[in-house]
Symmetry: C2
Subunit: 164 residues, 2 copies
DNA sequence: TATTGTTATACTCTATAACTATA
DNA sequence: TATAGTTATAGAGTATAACAATA
């Protein structure tokens, strides 16, 4: 974001070390997959965060609810290994979602230690609406990417993190 | 990561609600750009973190050193806006890199408030080696992605986060 | 008046150790 | 003995407010 050409006093002084930097060279970083993946993820998540504001859901909370919706009876342990979060960090989230009466813990049918997670009717409605919003956000990126590019991008991303 | 087919007792009970989940359906989440971008970024950064261990550099510290290397005299403010980090959070990092004698603060040639950042000889050597390692890590992904796919992926990621 | 660098501080996210009850 | 869920806690990472020196 530095202005294009102010203070032209410090131009082409090829030998003097104490020169000011005007245009920042980011070419090396931009050649790295990690740098670009992180920047893109942050940009998309930022948009997602804004879109989920009416539902008071952060990205991970949305992921949890969506997984419970499509996998009624899923356990905490399964959520953790699927989403890559640690059990102690899930507990508070599940408590909060239960207090909001979006999900309910029920005893697991075969494992007395585990609890199966289920959506309440209110949770089902919220997830339906939130997933619709997520799809809309997704479509919003079609302004920068064609549908084909979006498909390609997602396919390549999967190739990167699957079989890690 | 649940085992494929243990406890076959709880199979095809199509009507009973309290059933155990065996294979987790993640298809909706996997259709979302944000989910895939985050997972991919985490996977790559994980690999990067391991590769940078001998240099004792975290991804952001590597980014800072690399930017200083290619832009000698760059200011803290410029680093912050380029990398999307906040000034208070950069201070400690620069202090630490200075204490490790990898960078040096010198007075800015035209702005008395600012400090220009420069690499020490030790810093230059470290960055050269670390960038070589970064390129190697990058090449390591060629096992999952062809060089053409990697180029396409990076180009599409740029499209996503530029013009955000 | 605005900006650079800085301190202090708070809030979130992520990680580790240890306990309980079931398997 | 191992695993699911939980508690407590520690450590990163990220955020805002406010100040001194300079523009």
């Amino acid at each position: 974001m530095p202005r294009p050409a102010a203070a032209a006093r410090t131009t082409h002084s090829n030998t003097a070390p104490p020169a000011a930097v005007e245009d920042i060279d980011t070419s090396f970083l931009e050649s790295l997959l990690g740098y670009n993946a992180r920047r893109a993820a942050l940009a998309v998540i930022d948009r997602f965060l804004a879109g989920m504001e009416p539902y008071q859901l952060k990205p991970v909370e949305f992921s949890v609810l969506s997984l419970v919706a499509h996998n009624p009876g899923i356990t905490s342990r399964q959520l953790c290994s699927t989403l890559g979060i640690l059990p102690p960090n899930l507990v508070g989230m599940v408590n909060m979602l239960e207090k909001r009466e979006l999900i309910a813990r029920r005893p697991h049918p075969t494992d007395g230690r585990a609890m199966g997670l289920h959506l309440t009717p209110a949770g089902q409605k919220l997830v339906r609406d939130a997933e619709k919003t997520a799809a809309t956000i997704e479509a919003g990126f079609a302004s920068r990417l064609t549908p084909a590019e979006l498909r390609t991008l997602i396919a390549l991303l999967k190739k990167v993190y699957k079989a890690a």
